[in-house]
Symmetry: C2
Amino acid sequence: MKIPELQAILRKKKLSAAVFVSLEHGDVHMDYFGCYSGGGLLCVPARKKPFIITHELEFERAKTSGLRVFLWPRKKRLFEFLSTKIRGAIGMDLPSTSTPIFIAAKKKFKVKDIHEEVLKIRSAKTKEELRKIKRACVIADEILDSCVNQFKKFKTEKDVATFLELETIGRGCSLAFPVIVASEKNASMPHYEPRNVKLNKGFCVLDFGVKFDGYCSDITRTIYLGKPSPKEIALYKLVQGAQDAAFLEISKTKSCKKIHLAACKALGKENRYFIHSLGHGFGLEVHEYPGLSSLSPHKIEEGMTFTIEPGIYLPKKLGIRIEADYVLLKGEAVRLTKQTGLISV
Amino acid sequence: MKIPELQAILRKKKLSAAVFVSLEHGDVHMDYFGCYSGGGLLCVPARKKPFIITHELEFERAKTSGLRVFLWPRKKRLFEFLSTKIRGAIGMDLPSTSTPIFIAAKKKFKVKDIHEEVLKIRSAKTKEELRKIKRACVIADEILDSCVNQFKKFKTEKDVATFLELETIGRGCSLAFPVIVASEKNASMPHYEPRNVKLNKGFCVLDFGVKFDGYCSDITRTIYLGKPSPKEIALYKLVQGAQDAAFLEISKTKSCKKIHLAACKALGKENRYFIHSLGHGFGLEVHEYPGLSSLSPHKIEEGMTFTIEPGIYLPKKLGIRIEADYVLLKGEAVRLTKQTGLISV
């Protein structure tokens, strides 16, 4: 996908090729630009057709990509072999490149980081990608609805997580990331992992998303077990207000930093308990370009999909996070997931 | 776990600390040496207690590890902050370190790769680890039995994969790796991903493992849909014979290279269709130290868990792989998973 866009950037940066390597598991860029999710090396030359280099183990599978595939000769080092195909400086996505691969590449090529450029290309979704993302959003919302509706039958955090996982697989999807089910004080840890512990009265954070045909959704709902106090309802509404403020801000600015700050402002003095960034792009991966944070230089552009997920976390007490998914269409943020309000079960 | 073993290596290599970093997802070494699976930096000094550095988002969670946790000051670079705690050369596992982290570390420290050393420490399992691995093996075998027993009800590769996934989660486990269900000619691709395609007559490769309490199993069974011809039965027995030959070889040698070559020899002239290495260690990760291949310098040592998985792959025709899990106890390979023989369904 979007090979011409990548090649235009390579030519502008005077790079002879973009090179993505994953020796074992496959790589999301290889999948995106090369329609191949196995191990090997994908080379996208600035002016020629992309090709794959891989070992015998993956050779047949790599050919299903439709690209030309070269068999990596056992006795030749990978970048030495690549240097028989291309010359000049190459671009790599350094954060997703392991150190030994980078060191090996540097021995044969001048290497430039094209992380931002590659992530930016992937951030604006095509119609077909958006169709898959919308479906991933609808499925995750439906599964969450069903989960919340029968919440009384769950005894432990792990029960809830297992329900969400089984429903996901039953619908032919996979998890976009490990489910978070964090009851009461456990919810003060944003990346808490669900355990075999009793669900306690109070707020319970459910952070969940599915992968449909390769594309993710990412939703957080905070529900309440029992009857929330007026103060707790006010806290929830404060977080909801921060999400609304960020959403409205997008009509005025596309600066990710300003959108983040609008949410911070809405949180008032509780902002000191907002300990992460406001959101992130998502697509093939659950965390993509752009980043919505106080330091982000990014701007939201047409077709980008992103989350808005303000939260407040009181150590050893509680956590509330509300996360929805959006896409920017014709300059406006369009919500892809439900807004439920505080549901008590 | 095994902090003293790691510290002994650090002192021997004149390193002041081992440093493991994962800014987002957590890292298997951090989990193993620091009992912490979130984002941040784990430092294991050669002569002092390990500590974690992390940002606000993970601070509360990191404290549950029981280690001392420092809050990473927003305005300081990570390794600049680390250099206020330790000095001298540090060891890192470079293959699991992303390039920007390595470059940042190099600005403040002399960095040495301790990949082999760290993986070797993790390869010999403790009794408690072995208990979990055995359980992961039994559960995966039981699920595979149940799958094969009702195989007639599956129509597509994806049906089979979904069954295996649902059973895994239903038993409180997770997948050790994405399931492989490869029917007939698709099985000629060892890392094939199951699709929504009809199960054809012929060999069908099922490569599947579960993660129980963090520890993996990894089993491949090849079954036959329909009635195999005498030639096909002979091919299967050839692969089974290669597995047996490798198993027997372990009584004579612990050299991974020699064990691999014993399997190659048993395959006779069909060895040209054996296109991957014979096996690998497994534990917290599905692929660990040691590697059993024609180039491996590793030796199998007491307590190491590993797979033996010979296979033959005829492009566009068929694939057969038989994989079992073993542990070396008192110098002998002990099988942890079932040997089923060729089952036709």
